[in-house]
Structure formats: C-alpha cells, structure tokens
C-alpha cells in the first residue's frame, strides 16, 4: 500500500473512531471511567493496526516504517486521542522490552501493552535519588526463584492505573553505584505494593509515591542481566527522549492563560510599560518556538538533536516560570484571589503553581545546563568522586541511614 493510501485510510478510520471530545481522557488524571474508555479506544486502535506501527510484527507490532508512523501521527494531530495513560508504556517501557527483553517477556507483555490491556509505569526516581538516579536505594534481594523488593519510588505517573512497572533496584551495594543495579518487571497488583497519590504544590495529585514492602518478583522478570540495570535504564531514558523529541515539540500549552496570546487579551496595553513587558514575552516565546521548529526540521532531515534538546527543555522551563510570574504581576491582586463562581478566576494562580513543574520534571535546570555544557559544548566534566567507590561507602542525603 502506498503512503498516500495508508494516510487516507488512517484519516477515515480516525474520523470514524477517534473521540471528538476527550474530556477526561486526554488530561493528566483520568478517573476510572476515563481509563475504561481509554482502554476500549486503545483496543480498537490496535485492532485497526494503528498501535505499535513500527514495532516488530513478531511481538505484536505492525512492522511498518517511520514513514507510516509519521503519516498516522500527522492525521492524528487533529484529535486529542485518549492515550495519556499508555504513554509511559508506549514511549519507554515497551521499547525497552523490545530492545532488551527475553523472547518470553516480549511474547507475554508487548501485545497487551499495545492493545491497552495493561497499563505500564516506570519506577526509577526515589526521594534521595532525583538528579542522581543511580544513587537509588530500593533493594532487591535474591530469594527462592526470584527476588524480594523493599524501598520507595516517587514521581511515578499513571501508577494508580498501572498493571505493570519497569523497576530499577539495587541488587549489590558492594560495587560502585552504577554497577549494582538491576531492572525488573514488577506486577503493580502484587502484595506489598502500595500506590499513594502525591499531592503537589498545585493541590492536585499528578504523580504517585510507590512503596515496596517485601514484594516478590519471579526470576524470569529480570530485564537484561543482573547488575546491568544502569545500562538498561539508559536505554529506557533514550527512548523517553526520542518519544519527547518525536512528539509535538515542546512549545508549551496553547491554552496557557499566562502565554502571550492570552495576555494580549487580558493585560492593560494602554500602559506602555505593560506593552513592553508583553513584547519581551513575545520575543522569548517566539525565540523558543522557532528554535523548536528548527530542531524539528533538523530531526526530519535525519539530524538527531541529541543533547541540544536539553537546551530547548531548559529554555521552556525558564519561559514557563517567567510567563507565569509576569502574568500574575501584570494582573495584580486578582491573580491571587478570586471568587469561586468566577470561571476564569484562579487560572493564573494555577499557572503559577504549575510553572515549576517544567523545571523540576525530567531533570532540573542545573542538570540541563550540565548536559548542554558537557555534551553540546564538550566542556570538561566535574571531577567525580562516586564512580569507583562501593555504593555502601557513598554519602547519602542528610541523616538517612541504610
């Protein structure tokens, strides 16, 4: 089938099947109904051949090329498909299993993942291992026919709906920190797994904390080799970056009440000083949007942006805080207190509360600057003291003891 035809069929299928409004499914935290609807849609999507377009046929994918995937994505861009709860599985966990899983793992997990039957989450970050993921403390101890896991993970999206998790845990504390990690597939419904919503500064719970208390994992659920977990995680994170880079291009949300287009409507532009601040916001917004477009053009031309994507992420993080701060400053008192009956009330306050998320998720601004400095500009690295020391001899935060 030629590409035009493929695209035409995709268009038709979407027209017939894609939900026009995806109220509770496109956003951050669908309820149980939303998840059920999303799963139903995903099954239809899979059965029509549009889930896992480039994934190997052997494990349940369609075995097609990037060209078909781009064609479908171009058509799907007109919709807000309810795929949010599957995004971690599709973007990170699944591809990791395709790359590193055993055949029986691939057989067992990939098709249900693509068909939306099983939702996945990713379990790397910990309270004391944020920027420094390899410092994680959750431990897995070998036991009869498997492993027993104890510890805590945090910042886990969609965990409250997840059936499976891709877990990174420490299996050896006597070797340097990058060498004593192992990756596992964990059943999120297993006894000893507790998922607790993590209320963030917006007052909502976009993420979860996960507690593992003597959770048993069968031996066949080790991904890759025991002790090779860091390299496995690097693969996962690479897929994460690819899926972000291949996505919409991080341009910020169009409906952000603190963005230029919103402020030009709401701000008092009869004041020349206000006009000048809006011009500043326009300049910064356009500068970043054009940079993102340039990266996207380069990517389409086969030039993977690599660490330069971290520059875009850093700029977006800074712009997000800048514009929320500016918008609230321009609005004055009404930005910070509002009548509960006022539909527009509180939108700027929420934007301000949400603004730090962009800087704190996916690597802090400092980590981004290190990446840009070291991998784009090739600046010399910081002297490292943690590479050749057994994990158990490393410092930990505060009075934490292990």
């Amino acid at each position: 089938m030629d590409l035009e035809e493929y695209r035409r069929q995709a268009r038709e299928w979407l027209e017939a099947n894609a939900p026009r409004t995806a109220e509770d499914t496109g956003g951050g935290n669908p309820g149980a109904d939303g998840v059920a609807a999303a799963k139903a849609f995903m099954a239809k999507l899979y059965d029509a051949g549009y889930s896992g377009i480039t994934w190997p046929k052997e494990w349940g994918g369609q075995g097609l090329t990037q060209a078909e995937e781009r064609a479908f994505a171009a058509e799907a861009a007109a919709y807000t498909l309810p795929t949010y709860v599957f995004s971690i599985g599709l973007g990170m966990c699944g591809p990791t299993l395709v790359d590193l899983g055993t055949d029986s793992q691939r057989r067992r997990f990939i098709r249900p993942l693509l068909r939306g039957e099983e939702i996945w989450c990713q379990l790397f970050s910990e309270p004391a291992a944020g920027s420094d993921v390899a410092a994680l403390q959750t431990r897995a101890v070998e036991t009869d026919g498997g492993w027993v896991v104890d510890g805590q993970k945090v910042w886990t999206s969609v965990a409250q709906h997840a059936d499976r998790g891709l877990l990174l845990a420490r299996t050896d504390a006597d070797v340097p920190k990058h060498k004593g990690l192992t990756m596992f597939i964990v059943d999120m419904r297993a006894p000893g797994v507790t998922v607790r919503p993590l209320r963030d500064m917006t007052g909502r719970a976009h993420f979860n904390e996960i507690f593992f208390d003597g959770v048993h994992i069968p031996a066949e659920n080790v991904v890759g080799r025991v002790g090779d977990g860091w390299n496995c995680a690097v693969t996962t994170l690479l897929h994460e970056r690819l899926s972000i880079a291949g996505g919409v291009g991080m341009g910020g949300r169009k409906d952000d009440p603190a963005a230029f287009e919103a402020l030009r409507r709401t701000a008092d532009t009869t004041d020349p000083v206000v006009r000048d601040r809006l011009v500043e916001l326009h300049i910064r917004s356009r500068a970043l949007a054009l940079f993102n477009q340039r990266l996207a053009q380069e990517t389409r031309a086969g030039l993977f942006p690599g660490a330069r994507g971290s520059a875009a992420k850093l700029l977006l993080a800074e712009l997000t805080v800048f514009q929320a701060d500016l918008a609230t400053s321009l609005a004055g008192p009404e930005a910070v207190s509002w009548d509960e009956d006022d539909d527009a009330g509180g939108r700027l306050a929420h934007a301000l509360s949400l603004a730090p998320a962009m800087a704190l998720g996916g690597g802090t601004n400092e980590i981004m600057r290190n990446i840009v400095g070291e991998r784009v500009l090739n600046l010399p690295p910081e002297p490292r003291t943690d590479k050749n020391v057994p994990f158990k001899d490393l410092r930990t935060s505060g009075e934490d003891a292990r």
């Binding site: 963030d200 007052g203 008192p333 207190s337 509180g346 800087a359 704190l360 998720g361 400092e366 505060g398």
Partner: protein, 328 residues
C-alpha cells in the same frame, strides 16, 4: 540614618522569633491554614494581648506602646518568616490607618487586642476580610475619608496563598474625616509594613534552601558544594543584604524622616516585591522535586511571596510612583 538594629530591637526580634517558633511552627501553620477560620485565634490573641504587638505603633494615649516602625518592621519580618496565618498584618494595617488619621475608639480595641480589623486594599478585597470584626476602607471623593463597617456581607475568596485568606467586603460608614496627607502617609506606611513581611519571607526561604543544600547529596557531594547551587545562593544572599538595608531605611524614614518616606516606601515595595518572589522561586526550584510537593513548605513561601508582591496593587504601580517621586 540608622540601618542597624538597636539592642532593644534585637531583643524584640528574639522575643517574637521564639514566640512564633513555639506557638506557630510550620506544622501549626498548616493546621491553622486548613482549619475553618484559617488561623489560630489563640496565637493571634497572645500576639495582640500578651506581647502587645497589634498596638505596637499605636500612641500610648490610645492604649498602644508608641513604638516606631523600626520595631514594627522587626516584628513583621518575623511573622513573614514564620508565614503566620491570620489577621496580624491586616490588623496592623488598620492600626496604621487609624493612627495616621486620628481615630481613637476602634484603635483602642485594636491596641488592646480585642478587635480584629482589616483594611480594603484593592477594589473590595481585604486580607482576612471574612474574619475581621471591623473592616476599614478609604473612601470619599478625595480619597481622604476612613470608613468602617462591622458585620455586612463578607464573601470569602479563593486564594493562591493557602496561609492567608481574603474576602470581598462592603464599605461602611465614615468614622474619620481624615486629611489627604494622613491617608497618603498611611498608604506609604502600608508599603513599609508589607515590605518588612516580605523581607521575612525572603530570608526564611533563603535559609531553607541554604540548610537543605548542606544536607542534600547528589553524586556523592553535598549540593551546596556545586557552584551551580552555590553561586545562585550567593546571589540570593546579595539580594537579602540589599532587601534588609532597604527595609531598615524605609522604617527609619517612617520614624524619622517624613519627607523621605514616600520615596522610601515606593522603593521598598518596588525592590522587595521582586526580590522576595525571585528568592522564593529560586529556593523552590533548587530544592528539586521535593520543592514541588504540597508537603514541603517551599511552595508556601513562593505563594506568599507572589500574594505579597501584588497585595498593594500591581508592581508597576510602585515603580510608576517612584518615577513620579523622582520627577523623571
């Protein structure tokens, strides 16, 4: 010009600081903020009565301590640093307005700690407007009348800042026919008072991240040892030094140099508003993920900093006033 604290002011600071540390530590702040009233009336009563702080700048003949803005700034810096919920600032603003306009009856209740009061600062909004016994506002054609109302319709608002509430209120009847000068001076003194609170918020949020950077480890090093963190904290410290200098100056001008007060007050708001939010925001971001959680206090400082920045109007208003005063 005096920019350093007197021994008595240092003592006052210690008194207030240790009172707040025991009566309103961070967990108590959260409990109070989430309570029905939004604050702990017992703490407010003790601040007002036992410590005599609501009458601090009220003349002795009206039942206050007749202290100066140097002292008031010290107190508000501490209540800001502690993110004290409740009507202490609101009542203080009311005391300022009444003192400057020569009202006596309401003042006596405020100084005695028996009256919780507030002032309408913008439109019909007032800090703690639902909780106050008396709502003052400035009215009249020349903006030189002080109106007061007890009771009346109070419509609580939702707020960014969980630690201090606001409400829509209705103006009351005239209680004082003040002079335009008196009202103008009161507005300048509001600016000084809020700046002092902002200084406290700024200082406390800087202290929080400095402390955290001495215990948090990443890549086997305390994060405070990284220049990426250290240099930002150094810049924040520079901001704090300047902020404190400006607040001391503005308080001195309030006490000793009435001619300099308008410029000092506008300077204080223009500098402190920005400085406080920038430090609170920088502090939150440098905390990393934990700073984004509801359970951590970083967001409370961040939100209070923004709420304070716009409390007396959009920041550009202070800058425009400064431009006028400088005859630019």
């Amino acid at each position: 010009m005096r920019l350093v604290l007197t021994p008595e002011q240092r003592e006052l600071r210690e008194t207030v600081r240790s009172f707040l540390a025991s009566a309103s530590p961070p967990p108590a702040v959260r409990r109070a903020a989430e309570s029905e009233r939004g604050y702990d009336p017992a703490v407010h009563r003790r601040m007002a009565g036992e410590l005599g702080l609501t009458g601090l700048i009220v003349p002795e003949e009206h039942g206050g301590s007749g202290a100066g803005y140097g002292e008031l700034a010290v107190v508000l810096e501490e209540t800001g640093a502690a993110l004290l919920p409740g009507p202490f600032l609101a009542t203080t603003l009311a005391a300022i307005l009444l003192t400057e306009t020569g009202e006596k009856d309401l003042l006596a209740g405020i100084a005695a700690g028996t009256t919780v009061a507030t002032v309408v600062l913008d439109g019909n909004r007032a800090l703690c407007g639902a909780e106050a016994d008396v709502v003052l506002s400035i009215g009249g054609d020349g903006g030189d009348r002080v109106l007061a109302r007890t009771g009346g319709d109070r419509r609580p608002l939702r707020t960014l800042d969980p630690t201090r509430r606001q409400a829509l209120v209705e103006p009351g009847g005239e209680v004082v026919a003040a002079s335009a000068e008196g009202v103008a001076r009161a507005r300048d003194l509001f600016a000084v008072a809020v700046a002092a609170e902002q200084l406290g918020v700024l200082r406390a949020s800087l202290e929080a991240i400095v402390a955290y950077s001495k215990v948090r480890v990443a890549f086997n090093r305390l994060i405070g040892s990284y220049q990426g963190v250290k240099h930002k904290l150094a810049d924040m410290h520079c901001t704090l030094e300047q902020a404190e200098s400006i607040v001391r100056y503005a308080a001195w001008a309030a006490d000793e140099a009435p001619d300099e007060l308008p410029g000092a007050a506008a300077l204080a708001q223009a500098y402190l508003g920005r400085a406080c939010f920038e430090v609170a925001s920088g502090s939150l971001l440098l905390h990393g993920g934990i700073g984004f959680t509801w359970e951590h206090d970083a967001h409370l400082y961040y939100k209070r900093a923004k709420a304070d920045e716009v409390l007396l109007g959009p920041p550009r208003a202070h800058r425009a006033r400064l431009a006028d005063l400088l005859e630019l």
